[in-house]
């Protein structure tokens, strides 16, 4: 599913992103934070729209069903306009809210100016920055909430074709219908939302959304009010659309059909890695949303393609280490296979693989050489003359046999656990443990741009868990930790002196040699 037609892209001359129902990849240059933020949020919006609608469920299903590429592409073609217009406008406004005046942020993305202008026309009759976002979200959700799951269940997942659905029940036809009636359609929906808030809530949420400031209007205490507002706007839009004969689920009405379809798919095809639709409680829970987004993001650090890599023959490690800290990287074999382009015929050891990395000249081509350390007793050898830092990915720790054999040796050095799995896999254990967790956010500026990292230790500094990405990723991770740990999450502005050199060596090495970072190493796209 890597071809251009099978994904939703934010493609321009600066940072880029693309989304498929398997997740999203972003290549952030780090040169312009507002642009990076917009690119990131653009892909997040695609995720969110698919995760909470019937059409999104269908995309998730056909993206994974064997032999269903043509149906998937037909479904995607039928919702590109809705998806891109919604994602473009929302991401631009969210970037503006965070960074202030963003000027011509779409300069490098000329193809997105028309969708952005369309969205502005749609919401031009809506008051308040937050309500404009919510009104557009309500419209996009109405467009994506046609009776597609019922059609699939009726025809059977394999026999279903786009022709089974009326044109008026397809997202982009609906979107064009609303656009044709802009700005009145969304303005009326917004008034319905305002009426709901005046009837059922006090005026604080409405009053907080008077101008362009999203910060004041989106504080957590207003979440329920805005959810009710969007639901009222949604109901209004679905109501006026019904005049065309269009059928639309209630805003949460796709959940039972989604569960029915997933059960049918599971029965016929086994586990395809599909998830149930998010519940209302999950949508309100910032930690759940952060976790859902985190498990779908991938930051590319090597540009369009993974680095070429090779296994180095057994050799003296000194030339690889140099004067600085020697970083021993440990990744699962599946992850290594996904991270790099290996020469054909390369056989990596099974299970977690420990290696020193260095770019080497291989017959004129620069490749990332891996000197594999087969057993724990090879590790102390690299301690001389350089100090050693260990960067072991979290997915490796799931292999308990390997961990038993290696852990004691690793702990002789500073250990950093690179977070490459969903935080749901380890943070709840920290929450149950009852200890404080110390978190330190740092910004890294180098010739490659600006990156961000979050280092956490749940054990007083023995092991540091490292999340690497951009400021949005770090913000989401912090949000997630705060949600689960509450006041037991302690933050400080800088790393303890004793760990600083090793941490910077690990981060620098990662930025230079890791092709991408993501949170799906277990059960994700690597397999």
């Amino acid at each position: 599913m890597a071809d251009h037609l099978a994904r939703l892209c934010l493609d321009g001359t600066a940072s880029t992103g693309f989304y498929t129902p398997h997740g999203f990849d972003v290549t952030l240059y780090g040169a312009d934070l507002p642009v990076d933020h917009m690119v990131y949020m653009h892909e997040v919006q695609h995720c969110a729209l698919n995760d909470e609608t019937a059409w999104g469920t269908a995309l998730h299903v056909y993206a994974r069903m064997p032999g269903a590429d043509a149906t998937f592409t037909a479904l995607l073609d039928a919702c590109r306009l809705t998806h891109e217009t919604f994602a473009t406008y929302s991401s631009v406004r969210l970037a503006a809210a965070r960074h202030g005046d963003i000027g011509e942020i779409l300069t490098a993305y000329s193809a997105y100016r028309v969708p952005h202008a369309d969205a502005e026309r749609l919401v031009s009759g809506v008051t308040g920055a937050n309500r404009r976002l919510l009104a557009l979200s309500a419209a996009a959700r109405v467009c994506m909430q046609g009776p597609i799951i019922d059609a699939i269940l009726h025809a059977g997942p394999r026999s279903f074709a786009l022709a089974d659905l009326r044109e008026r029940d397809r997202p982009d036809t609906r979107w064009a219908w609303f656009l044709d009636r802009a700005p009145a359609s969304l303005a009326e929906a917004a008034r319905a939302g305002d009426r709901r808030l005046r009837a059922d809530f006090d005026g604080t949420a409405l009053n907080s959304d008077a101008g362009d400031d999203l910060h004041a209007s989106t504080v957590q205490e207003h979440d329920q009010a805005w959810e009710a507002w969007e639901e009222a706007a949604y109901e209004h839009l679905a109501g006026i659309l019904a005049a065309t004969g269009a059928l639309t689920h209630g805003i949460y009405g796709h959940r039972q059909p989604t569960a029915d379809l997933l059960a049918r798919i599971s029965e016929e095809y086994g586990d395809l890695g599909l998830r149930d639709a998010m519940s209302e409680a999950q949508r309100r829970d910032d930690a759940a949303v952060a976790s859902s987004v985190l498990q779908q993001v991938r930051h590319s650090l090597s540009g369009d393609r993974p680095y070429p890599a090779m296994v180095l023959p057994s050799m003296d490690i000194e030339p690889l280490v140099g004067d600085g800290t020697a970083v021993v990287h440990i990744r699962t074999a599946n992850r290594l296979a996904a991270l790099y382009r290996w020469p054909s015929g390369t056989r990596l050891p099974s299970g977690p693989v420990a290696a020193l990395r260095a770019f080497v000249d291989a017959d004129g081509d620069e490749m990332l050489g891996h000197l594999i350390l087969a057993e724990p007793d090879r590790l102390p050898l690299v301690a001389s003359p350089a100090p050693v830092a260990v960067c072991v990915s979290a997915a490796c720790l799931a292999d308990t046999g390997w961990t038993r054999r290696w852990w004691k040796t690793l702990l002789a050095h500073p250990v950093f656990v690179l977070v490459d799995v969903e935080p749901d896999r380890f943070v709840p254990a920290w929450a149950r443990g009852g200890d404080e967790v110390l978190a330190v956010g740092i910004e890294i500026r180098d010739t490659g741009g600006t990156r961000a990292a979050l280092l956490c230790t749940p054990d007083g500094g023995t092991i540091w868990w490292l999340t690497l990405g951009n400021d949005v990723t770090v913000h989401l991770m912090a949000e997630y930790l705060r949600g689960l740990l509450g006041t037991r999450l302690r933050t400080r502005g800088e790393l303890p002196a004793g760990i600083h050199t090793a941490a910077m060596a690990v981060i620098t090495s990662l930025l230079a040699t890791e092709s991408f970072v993501s949170f799906d190493a277990l059960g994700g796209r690597d397999g």
Binding site: S110, L162, E167
Partner: protein, 179 residues
């Protein structure tokens, strides 16, 4: 010899040997009240659309809006396609169809024959012949809903014999013919 497209271009005040985004927008405004993007998108699906960077582009909505494409008006296939898009846009607006122009374009040849398009005072005059026993084209059977197609056929057969084009001009429908 002047043909249907010459009449359409003249009506929109256009000449030259190629059509770009700006001219296509002008053409859209001359024949329909709908948003011009609805017209431009199927235009770019013309068989001979050229891309300024020399690459063949995929059929992706967003590529349409870069404006980095052009349509060679000397190519007969492109000319036929542009006439078809124009007639589809005219019908969507004149008959107040729910379907978009891009949906109507590929099915229209299964519903009507375009007999002539000419400039008349105040707009265009489009002459269409209804086809007998229209069927969903086989290559569109997995995409086009049979009831939507039936609705289009019914709308076209209900209309006429003369319908006003909202931005100016008329459409006439003549009796069913078998192709």
């Amino acid at each position: 010899m002047a043909d249907d497209l010459d009449a359409i271009l003249a009506h929109a005040g256009l000449d030259g040997t190629e059509l770009r985004r700006e001219q296509t927008g002008a053409l859209a405004r001359a024949v329909s009240r709908k948003p011009e993007e609805e017209f431009i998108t199927p235009v770019v699906a013309a068989p001979g659309t050229g891309w300024d960077d020399g690459q063949q582009r995929p059929r992706d909505y967003l590529e349409v809006h870069t404006g980095r494409w052009h349509i060679d008006l000397r190519d007969p296939a492109n000319r036929r396609h542009l006439v078809l898009v124009t007639v589809a846009a005219v019908l969507v607006d004149a008959l107040n169809l729910t379907e978009r122009t891009g949906w109507v374009v590929p099915v229209l040849p299964a519903v009507v024959d375009v007999l002539a398009v000419r400039v008349v005072p105040g707009g265009l005059h489009v002459e269409l012949a209804l086809l007998a026993d229209p069927q969903v084209p086989a290559d569109l059977a997995t995409v086009v809903n049979a009831l939507d197609f039936a609705d289009l056929v019914a709308a076209v057969h209900r209309a006429g014999p003369t319908v006003a084009i909202p931005v100016g001009g008329t459409v006439t429908f003549s009796g069913s013919t078998t192709r």
